[in-house]
């Protein structure tokens, strides 16, 4: 039986979560010109908090999920205010290194907290699987994740297009100086961007830790690494590009994973490197990505 349709469905579900992470990156990049290497740690933190609160604090899964989203959002805002804003305008490199340092601290603390134990999330979906017929199956949690991702994506784009803050955010990214003169508070825009990215990370982190994954685990940050090729494909500053890139990477990864037994000559675990191969080849031909702004020099 052909497994390709099922792989594509799994890929779409995984790609949707990847897109949420990628969207967070793009929002941060547009608002503060920063590539946030600590996003992976925020994913892990989101999942860990859900697990810790749902199992140990006894406030139930949904309560824990809510608290985790709020907490990671506030962490995002705090990072922007304390670490990113003082360095604003010092360039991509300095800001990138700052987030790498933050990632080092956060991930070390989380690794210590998690160590070798498994942290199940206590989510209501368990390991149930939905059968769509025709051999297409999808874990229930991934199906819910897909729906949530679509809803969040739609909500974000509507907000981004019509709401005062969304418009302000776009204006600030387009031309910060003019936006400031028009009375748009750039500082609050940056904070909002980092908070939003934190919230997206918490949601994605939670869903990525449910079945088929065993629970909150530091290796989850590798998903944030897989989102780098996604935003590079999309062109870094394009929100639509982030979604497209996330989908492309998600689907290709799952297809290669499914056919890995036929690709044994490429070695074990080849699906882990596929995003980067796609990326490097793609960038050599189209360095600005699918939908990114072309860089124009003015001398």
């Amino acid at each position: 039986m052909d497994i390709l349709p099922e792989l594509i469905v799994t890929g779409i579900a995984f790609g949707a979560l990847l897109s949420l992470v990628a969207l967070g990156f793009v929002i941060q990049y547009r608002a503060t010109a920063t590539l946030n290497f600590a996003q992976g740690a925020l994913l892990v933190l989101g999942a860990y908090l859900v697990s810790k609160l749902a199992i140990n604090a006894g406030i139930g899964f949904w309560g824990a999920f809510l608290v985790s989203i709020v907490a990671v959002t506030f962490l995002g805002v705090a990072v922007e205010r304390l670490l990113v804003r003082p360095l604003f305008g010092r360039g991509l490199f300095v800001l990138g290194i700052m987030t790498l340092g933050l990632d080092l601290v956060l991930i070390t603390i989380l690794q210590k907290a998690i160590r070798d134990s498994v942290f199940p999330l206590g989510d209501p979906w368990g390991n149930r699987i939905i059968d769509f017929g025709g051999g297409i199956t999808l874990p229930q949690s991934r199906f819910v994740a897909l729906l949530v991702a679509i809803a969040l994506g739609a909500a974000f784009f509507t907000w981004f297009k019509y709401h005062r803050w969304g418009v302000a955010m776009r204006a600030a990214a387009e031309d910060g100086a003019t936006a400031a003169l028009m009375g748009i508070p750039l500082g609050r825009i940056s904070s909002a961007a980092w908070g939003l990215a934190g919230a997206l990370a918490a949601v994605a982190g939670m869903f990525l830790s449910t079945f088929p994954t065993a629970g909150a685990d530091p290796s989850l940050r590798l998903v944030a690494f897989a989102a780098f090729p996604a935003i590079a494909l999309g062109g870094f500053d394009s929100t639509t590009g982030a979604i497209a890139g996330g989908m492309i990477i998600g689907i290709t990864t799952q297809i290669v994973l499914g056919y890995e037994s036929h690709l044994s000559f490429l070695g074990r675990g080849v699906h882990n490197v596929v995003p980067y191969v796609v990326l490097i080849v793609f960038l050599l031909f189209k360095p600005d990505g699918l939908l990114g702004t072309k860089e124009v020099h003015r001398v």
Binding site: L35, F228, G267, N272, Y276, V299
Partner: protein, 384 residues
């Protein structure tokens, strides 16, 4: 400093440009200071216990790697954040070229079995060539895509190292043959220490000359503005290519020495984490400054060992690696992260900038006291 970049001269140095700075830069003091440092470095095998000598060995090797990364990122401003890729290429090239074919753990490993000095030179050359092959990436991509692509290189390299079992020994890695020259085996830690010191001095001499000559100025110019640089007649593509070759070859040297120090190469060592450590070195030391790269390498290498040795004094630390506290490794990672943040926020020029600021304020106090004393005596004479 090139005239293209007036803002890179710190204000403190502009007002202090007269006396103290000139003294430090004068022809007599600088070589004397370097010589004193070199003599001190040569005395280390006598002064240090084997444990600390081994740490010093790794620090010297790290310093070579930090210099390689620093010339690429600090001097040329190319955001290729994957030094561990070049280290891995160098280490494995040496392991494959230097060791003979053998059977290990039931796996037939292929090796060329060249004399080790030739294997070392070839490994460095191969890494340089790999750098040359990668330079189109830097010429084609802007800084952000390049940073992401270079992270990709690390994952690709890890994949190849894990799977090209006949060459690399897979995830178990392969043994590395000892370096020997004129029938002398570099097997003791002391001999490896001097080998690493020799290569560090060589690298230092090469890079210092490079940065102070035309190519170095050209690299700084293209870091500040590629367009301005090319308008001044600097062949941007050509220099980007060359800096990749140089940085790659030096990174390869660091990889070979790492392999020699461990006597074994394993893929996991060369992951993203190693790259982050080297980024920490050049940021903590002071970006763009060779002195800073070496200082940062020493700091980042010695700190975990200090915590291992005297960590029991620190709160929150567990020595066994179990229980509620942090292990020494974890504690030092947190310290690196915090150090990166603090330096970026408060002293962007790193250890180099910090020591200069301290020296200047100390000198400032001395001058102020002298001035006060002079004024006092002047008052005394007028009163008399």
């Amino acid at each position: 400093m090139s005239r293209l970049r007036p803002e890179s001269v710190p204000a403190s140095r502009m007002w202090a440009a007269g006396g103290r700075d000139l003294v430090w830069r004068s022809a007599a003091v600088r070589p004397a200071a370097y010589l004193a440092l070199l003599v001190l470095a040569c005395l280390m095998p006598v002064l240090l216990t084997p444990f600390w000598l081994q740490t010093a060995l790794f620090a010297l090797i790290a310093a070579i790697g930090a210099l390689s990364l620093n010339i690429l990122m600090g001097s040329a401003g190319i955001l290729a954040i994957s030094p561990s890729f070049f280290f891995a290429v160098g280490a494995y090239a040496y392991a494959i070229l230097g060791s003979p074919s053998e059977d290990k753990f039931g796996i037939a490993l292929y090796g060329v079995g060249l004399p080790t000095p030739i294997a070392l030179v070839l490994a460095v050359a191969i890494t340089g060539i790999v750098g040359w092959l990668l330079s189109p990436l830097a010429r084609r991509l802007r800084e952000l895509p390049l940073a992401v692509a270079s992270i990709g290189l690390i994952f690709l390299a890890l994949h190849v190292m894990d799977n090209a079992t006949k060459l690399t020994g897979g995830s178990l890695g392969r043994a590395v043959r000892r370096f020997s020259l004129f029938r002398y085996d570099f097997s003791s830690i002391t001999s490896l220490y001097f080998l690493a010191l020799f290569f560090l001095v060589l690298t230092w001499w090469y890079i210092a000359n490079l940065l102070r000559s035309r190519p170095g100025r050209a690299l700084e110019a293209l870091r500040d503005s590629e367009i301005a640089a090319s308008a001044l007649g600097i062949d941007v593509e050509h220099y980007k290519q060359r800096v990749f070759v140089v940085s790659g070859a030096i990174g390869g040297l660091c990889g070979v020495l790492t392999a020699l120090a461990f006597r074994h190469t394993i893929p996991d060592y060369f992951g993203f984490f190693l790259s982050v450590n080297f980024l920490a070195m050049i940021v903590i030391g002071g970006l763009g400054s060779p002195v800073g790269a070496v200082a940062g390498a020493l700091f980042v290498t010695f700190l975990p060992q200090f915590i291992v040795e005297w960590g029991t004094w620190l709160p929150l630390l567990s020595t066994q690696g179990i229980g509620s506290g942090f292990t020494a490794q974890e504690a030092s990672q947190i310290v690196f992260g915090v150090a990166i943040a603090l330096f970026l926020l408060f002293q962007p020029r790193g250890i180099v900038g910090l020591s200069r600021a301290v020296a200047e304020s100390a000198a400032g106090i001395v001058t102020a006291r002298r001035a006060a004393a002079a004024a006092g005596s002047a008052n005394a004479t007028t009163e008399a």
